[in-house]
């Protein structure tokens, strides 16, 4: 694997690895790691770094919903145009064009169910090309971006073994 690919895989595993540790793991030096990260950021490959939070364990669990959207296109309007109208809303955490029964899949986040519904009915549904929305409220998260949300099972290996 080349160093960029390995670097990306390490940062996906844990974006908080220090450059020193990344250098150690990759068998290279810190300046090389810094340089590569800067290049990846500049090229827009590395878009940002976020924590994976299990909100259930906090007092401020936001309400999240998956919203399916169907659209009709015409000569003037393509998927990108519709997406451009939606991406700016801070309530929308992710916006993806998907294949299958519907066209766009959105993750919407707000403080209450009311806010989510209002947002979908007042901001998303009125977009002229959007013909239908179906909202699924997220009830429980078991896994997010590769991290399992259970209590995790303890390491039950013997502490010292052959």
């Amino acid at each position: 694997m080349d160093i960029r690919a390995e670097l990306l895989s390490l940062l996906r595993e844990n974006a908080r690895y220090t450059t020193v540790d990344l250098a150690r793991m990759l068998g290279t030096d810190e300046s090389e790691v810094t340089e590569q990260i800067e290049a990846l950021e500049a090229e827009g490959v590395l878009k940002g770094y976020q924590a994976v939070v299990d909100w259930r364990r906090t007092d401020e669990e936001p309400v999240r919903a998956l919203v399916e959207c169907n659209v009709t296109l015409d000569r003037e309007t393509g998927y990108d145009d519709i997406a451009a109208r939606l991406v700016g809303f801070p309530e929308i955490q992710s916006l993806r064009l998907v294949s299958g029964e519907y066209d766009f899949s959105l993750t919407v986040e707000a403080d209450s169910m009311g806010e989510v519904s209002r947002f979908v009915s007042e901001k998303v549904a009125p977009v002229p090309e959007i013909t239908q929305t179906v909202t699924h409220y997220l009830m429980e998260s078991y896994k997010e971006r590769g991290f399992e949300f259970g209590d995790g099972h303890d390491d039950d290996r013997l502490s010292v073994s052959p």
Partner: protein, 379 residues
């Protein structure tokens, strides 16, 4: 009750003592673990579940399921150039452990000398003793990066041994041996007509260079038994599945012991193993690359602490020099003061003194914390 003299002769294991010390404390980060921290790939576990749901709960053929022996033979041929007939030259066992034990009992007569390259996995010496043989330790040392040399074999009396046991990539040192370095060992074995028992259970965990099996060297196939298994590369320790590859007469002899002691390896595990070979290559590659990063991390940290450690290239251990002359005292003090468990090298026999076995089969966060604690302890 009378205990046999053979059993009386084998002292309790040093590993066990360290385990007990560790158990008395809370908040211990253990770098003393000789097994993967990963879980077996889901696909293999699923195959085990499926086999149970279908009620595959009977014994299999003594030598193991035909489909598994075929998959093992094919894999060994493709990856390591080890060409064995699945019907006559493969024996599936309950872990490599059983294969090793069965081999000692099949090949060792009372009083036979069995040379064992050390530091070594802790079961070889007792295994030879239980079989009535005489273990002959052959120390390897840091000067040779813990590789076995023909000089060491000569010097420590392997010439009049019946058999030679070694393991590369090695537990506890992480040392590997290249084809070139194996050649003089093969020549020695041919010259002195030694049976070679090669434990290659860590073959798939080789990080630099390719693994070479001594059985592929000229004139070696007919005198070598290769051990391997699913515990390490596939993180399937608890499923207890291993195997031996050897010429027909050797497998027949080993199977004679195996069929009366074990009958057959666990059936559920055999189903999991078939799936592991069919579907889990990606998981092995992923686990290996994670071990490799941790290996580099640990080596680099020791280097910065000024702790001397040769570059281990396989398995999931490094074997640094103990900062104190008395490695056991160091390991105990480190455990006591900082709650980090490492295993003193003495436990693994000749050549291990003054060293520590540090396993990196532990998540990066814990590993980093453990290395920080070691550094703090040294200050």
């Amino acid at each position: 009750m009378k205990i046999s003299e053979r059993v009386e002769r084998v002292p309790p294991s040093g590993i066990r003592r360290f385990f007990e010390l560790t158990e008395e404390l809370d908040d211990v980060i253990s770098l003393g673990v000789g097994e993967p921290d990963f879980t077996a790939p889901w696909s293999a576990r699923e195959a085990a579940i499926d086999s149970l749901e279908r009620g595959r709960t009977s014994y299999t053929a003594n030598r193991g399921m035909a489909a598994l022996r075929e998959a093992i033979a094919e894999r060994s041929r493709e990856r390591y150039d080890l060409d064995y007939d699945p019907d006559e030259e493969v024996l599936v066992t309950a872990g490599a452990s059983e294969a090793i034990d069965v081999a000692f009992r099949a090949f060792v007569d009372p009083g036979d000398r069995v040379a064992i390259a050390q530091p070594s996995y802790v079961s070889y010496v007792p295994g030879v003793t239980f079989a009535g043989g005489e273990p002959v330790p052959i120390p390897t040392g840091e000067a040779d990066d813990f590789e076995l040399t023909a000089e060491a074999l000569r010097e420590h009396g392997a010439a009049d041994a019946e058999a030679l046991v070694f393991c590369y990539p090695n537990n506890p040192t992480g040392a590997t041996m290249s084809k070139q370095d194996l050649e003089p060992i093969a020549a020695f074995a041919r010259e002195h007509d030694l049976t070679v028992l090669a434990d290659e259970i860590y073959a798939d965990l080789t990080y630099e260079g390719d693994h070479t099996s001594i059985a592929t060297l000229p004139g070696m196939r007919e005198r070598t038994v290769v051990f391997n298994g699913f515990s390490k590369a596939y993180a399937m320790t608890g499923l207890r599945l291993g195997y031996a590859l050897a010429p027909p007469e050797a497998i027949t002899a080993m199977n004679r012991v195996h069929q009366y002691s074990m009958l057959s390896a666990p059936t559920t595990a055999q189903h999991a193993a078939i799936d592991a070979l069919d579907n889990c290559d990606d998981a092995v590659v992923e686990m290996r690359s994670q071990y490799d990063r941790r290996r580099r991390f640990v080596l680099s940290r020791f280097d910065e602490m000024g702790i001397d450690c040769f570059t281990a290239k396989g398995a999931f251990y490094v074997f640094p020099e103990s900062p104190w002359e008395d490695a056991e005292a160091f390991a105990e003090a480190l455990l006591d003061a900082e709650g980090v468990a490492v295993v003193p090298g003495d436990v693994f026999g000749a050549g291990g003194e003054g060293h520590l076995r540090v396993s990196y089969a532990t998540g990066m966060n814990e590993l980093r914390e453990a290395m920080d604690r070691i550094e703090r302890f040294l200050d």
